[in-house]
């Protein structure tokens, strides 16, 4: 499968993050692994881009972050765990609807099967 690079993903990354968090709370690296798994390796995301997207989502109240507890049995710096807020869930549902419409309309114009 041909890869989908960062330029094509721009504008959708925040929705993808919301979607990954619907599966449960996760830190940045875990969110990335979920996205890679869901995209079957086709998403060619610059991993750092995930964090500005998370900060914007948090500022908008769509996700909520909290530092993992210091007694976590893990070496290295503490990670920030994100969870989807109720408004984040609603935004995800809206984005899904918008994207379906986009695919139907643009797919129809391009002659692809939506």
């Amino acid at each position: 499968m041909e890869g989908i690079n960062g330029d094509l993903l721009r504008g959708h990354l925040q929705t993808l993050v919301l979607s990954a968090l619907r599966k449960g709370d996760a830190h940045g690296f875990e969110i990335l692994k979920r996205l890679e798994a869901a995209g079957s390796g086709a998403l060619q995301l610059k991993e750092g881009s995930l964090y500005p997207a998370l900060y914007k989502l948090e500022a908008a109240g769509l996700v909520k972050g909290a530092w993992e507890k210091s007694d976590t049995p893990r070496r290295g710096p503490r990670r920030r765990i994100y969870r989807l807020t109720p408004s984040g869930g609603r935004r995800l549902d809206e984005a899904r609807g918008e994207f379906q419409q986009f695919v139907t309309v643009i797919g129809g114009i391009l002659g692809a099967t939506a």
């Binding site: 690296f29 610059k46 991993e47 750092g48 881009s49 500005p52 900060y55 710096p77």
Partner: protein, 233 residues
């Protein structure tokens, strides 16, 4: 680990912002650490795993721009430092203000004092009063600059206590002098009876700035290890 920290610091340090930068540093480091461990588990040697983890994170300049865009306007403003151009503009404004005062009409209080309605200890001719007023305003501006130098010291990676003390003392002395010069120019007496009270009132600003500085210092303690990193290369 230090190599990864330096990479993170090269990305984050130039960002205009303040309180959210520590979070960026910690999260990016945690991410790089996880990526590094993944690459090591995949069979890469240490140097190659570090290089791959950095590559996966993306182009530092692009990431910096994206992170900068996620910083609120308020925080950007808080993280703004005066450049040499900014200082020159500030000084020019100060000189302009002094010039305006120098050519402005004589203040009403001076006129009334000259007319004898003001109880003055020392008579000052209006021309001298105007010069004293200009000197007072210039001294006040000087005190602001000293206070700025005093406050910014708390934000430096390595705080220089002698500079903090010198800037603080100079700022306080300039502030006191400016108050008395302005008072003297406007009323003809330097409030000698109320010297203690006036001086005490002038302690409010230094006390506020010093306590804010201490709070800043404590809040920035976790950043110390980051700010001490040499990111030049």
């Amino acid at each position: 680990m230090k190599d990864l920290m330096i990479h993170v610091e090269q990305i984050v340090r130039p960002i205009r912002g303040d309180w959210s930068k520590l979070r960026m540093r910690r999260e990016l480091l945690a991410h790089l650490q996880s990526a590094y461990e993944q690459e090591r588990a995949g069979g890469l040697d240490e140097a190659a795993a570090i290089a791959e983890a950095k590559r996966r994170l993306g182009d530092p300049a692009t990431l910096r721009e994206e992170l900068q865009a996620s910083v609120s306007r308020l925080e950007r403003l808080a993280g703004t430092r005066f450049s040499a151009r900014g200082w020159m503009m500030l000084l020019s404004l100060g000189v302009l203000l002094a010039m305006i005062v120098a050519i402005a009409p004589v203040p009403a209080s001076l006129t009334s004092r000259q007319a004898g309605s003001f109880a003055s200890v020392t008579e000052v001719a209006p021309a001298h009063a105007r010069a004293i007023l200009v000197a007072g305003i210039l001294t006040m501006e000087l005190s602001f600059l000293f206070w700025y130098a005093f406050t910014t010291e708390f934000f430096r990676p390595r705080m220089r206590w002698p500079r903090v003390a010198c800037a603080g003392i100079a700022a306080f002395v300039a502030q006191l002098a400016s108050i008395f010069l302005v008072l003297f120019a406007l009323t003809g007496h330097a409030a000698s009876d109320d010297f203690g009270q006036v001086a005490l009132a002038q302690l409010i600003l230094p006390a506020f700035l010093a306590s804010s500085g201490v709070v800043t210092l404590l809040a920035r303690r976790p950043m110390k290890q980051w700010l001490e990193l040499d990111i030049a290369n």
